[in-house]
């Protein structure tokens, strides 16, 4: 189980990074980047660094994603929102 995770998670990270690179919509890129951070925080747990896992989940997946999405809103790259 652990070995499988150890092999799959880095591959998932690379897949996420490539998906960010080639995605056409910015919102998709941001969401995938946020999931990248989440995968990262699971890897921190596997690497026995709980401090990093908590910080990454709070900072990387939480606040960075929030800031990115608010930026997308400001640059009108979100579809279906009410502002113009």
């Amino acid at each position: 189980m652990r070995l499988a995770l150890e092999l799959i998670l880095p591959i998932l990270l690379i897949v996420c990074a490539l998906a960010v690179t080639f995605s056409k919509r910015l919102l998709v890129a941001v969401v995938i980047f946020t999931s990248f951070s989440l995968i990262m925080s699971v890897i921190w747990v596997l690497l026995e660094s709980p401090d990093l896992a908590i910080t990454e989940a709070a900072v990387g997946a939480g606040v960075s994603g929030l800031l990115l999405i608010y930026t997308l809103k400001k640059i009108h790259a979100l579809k279906g929102t009410s502002d113009e």
């Binding site: 998709v28 401090d51 929030l66």
Partner: protein, 315 residues
């Protein structure tokens, strides 16, 4: 015509549909609705040609440099990756205990850490006591970042017009009256939990995983959730730009002062009169607890500050 188009649309391969789904929809929509101002279109064919020629030339000129730049970037990138790969080949094996990084430094951090810093969490002991100067620099980075964002996004005559000001004022009013009932009900449940959890993580930074940064971020997200669900007006009753400035500066000052004290006593071989307390208790490990609290406050304020400046351009 339209029938043909419809058939074509339906004939999409699975892959295309999948990519369309990943991208959110099928329609080829420009990424950004606002386009750069284009030169006014000329109806006459001659005019069009004349207009098109120079721009094309310009484009070609730019593209040659661009082309060169892109090739260079790819070459450099591939070179760096391959060089690093070769390096990885030479590095010690993953998970092996005879890694060169495991040496007398690690030994002392682990074995003497509790005795010298009083922290059960060795990472906290390391970043807030052994290598505290780095961490002070890091808090300064956060402080600088929020200052920069204030510089860029705080409303002033350079970045806002009159209409935008009016628009924000209207939004504020609307926010005050319209409360999303689902959001507010859930927020009432979640915010206290998040705040308490954040405070717990901060106060237990020296005992368990976490510490100032993660706990501060959690408290900051609780504040953000409050602002999202109840509106910025409500939050500005107790948290204005002046409070923000005062709280951040004072917390950083306490941090700087306590670290200055410990650096000064340490370097001059004076005795530091700070009790380390019983290991494992909340009130232990000397300055680490104080530093964690200061960092937590700074981080919480900073995260909320980022949010407020990004959405409304004010605190």
């Amino acid at each position: 015509m339209s029938k043909m188009a419809k058939i074509k649309k339906e004939k999409k391969t699975l892959w295309q549909r999948f990519t369309a789904w990943v991208n959110g929809d099928a329609a080829e929509q420009p990424l950004l609705p606002a386009e750069p101002p284009k030169p006014p279109k000329n109806k006459g064919a001659k005019g069009k040609k004349q207009k098109a020629q120079p721009t094309r030339k310009e484009w070609m000129g730019l593209s040659r440099f661009e082309h060169f730049y892109r090739v260079c970037a790819v070459v450099i990138g591939v070179a760096i990756v391959s060089v690093l790969m070769v390096t990885v080949l030479q590095l010690p094996l993953f998970g092996s205990p005879d890694n060169p990084a495991v040496n007398e430094v690690v030994e002392r951090y682990v074995e003497k850490g509790l005795e010298e810093t009083g922290a059960v969490n060795m990472v906290a002991g390391m970043i807030l006591d052994y290598r505290a100067f780095d961490t002070f620099g890091e808090s300064s980075v956060l402080f600088l970042a929020v200052t920069c964002v204030t510089m860029l996004l705080m409303r002033d005559r350079n970045n806002t017009t009159k209409e935008e000001d009016l628009l924000t004022a209207r939004e504020h009013v609307i926010e005050g009256y319209e409360e999303d009932i689902i959001l507010t009900k859930i927020a009432r449940l979640v915010i206290p939990c998040a705040l308490v959890y954040g405070i717990y993580v901060v106060l237990n930074g020296h005992l368990s995983p976490g510490g100032g940064f993660s706990g501060g971020t959690i408290m900051g997200s609780a504040l953000i959730l409050f602002a999202v669900s109840f509106g910025m007006i409500r939050i500005s009753r107790f948290f204005t730009y002046a409070t923000f400035r005062k709280v951040t500066s004072c917390a950083l000052m306490v941090y700087a002062a306590s670290k200055a004290y410990s650096f000064f006593t340490g370097a001059n071989h004076l005795e530091s009169h700070i009790p380390l307390g019983t290991p494992g208790a909340i009130l232990s490990s000397g300055l680490i607890l104080v530093l964690d609290i200061c960092v937590g406050i700074v981080v919480a304020c900073t995260m909320y500050g980022f949010y407020a400046l990004f959405t409304k351009g004010e605190l």
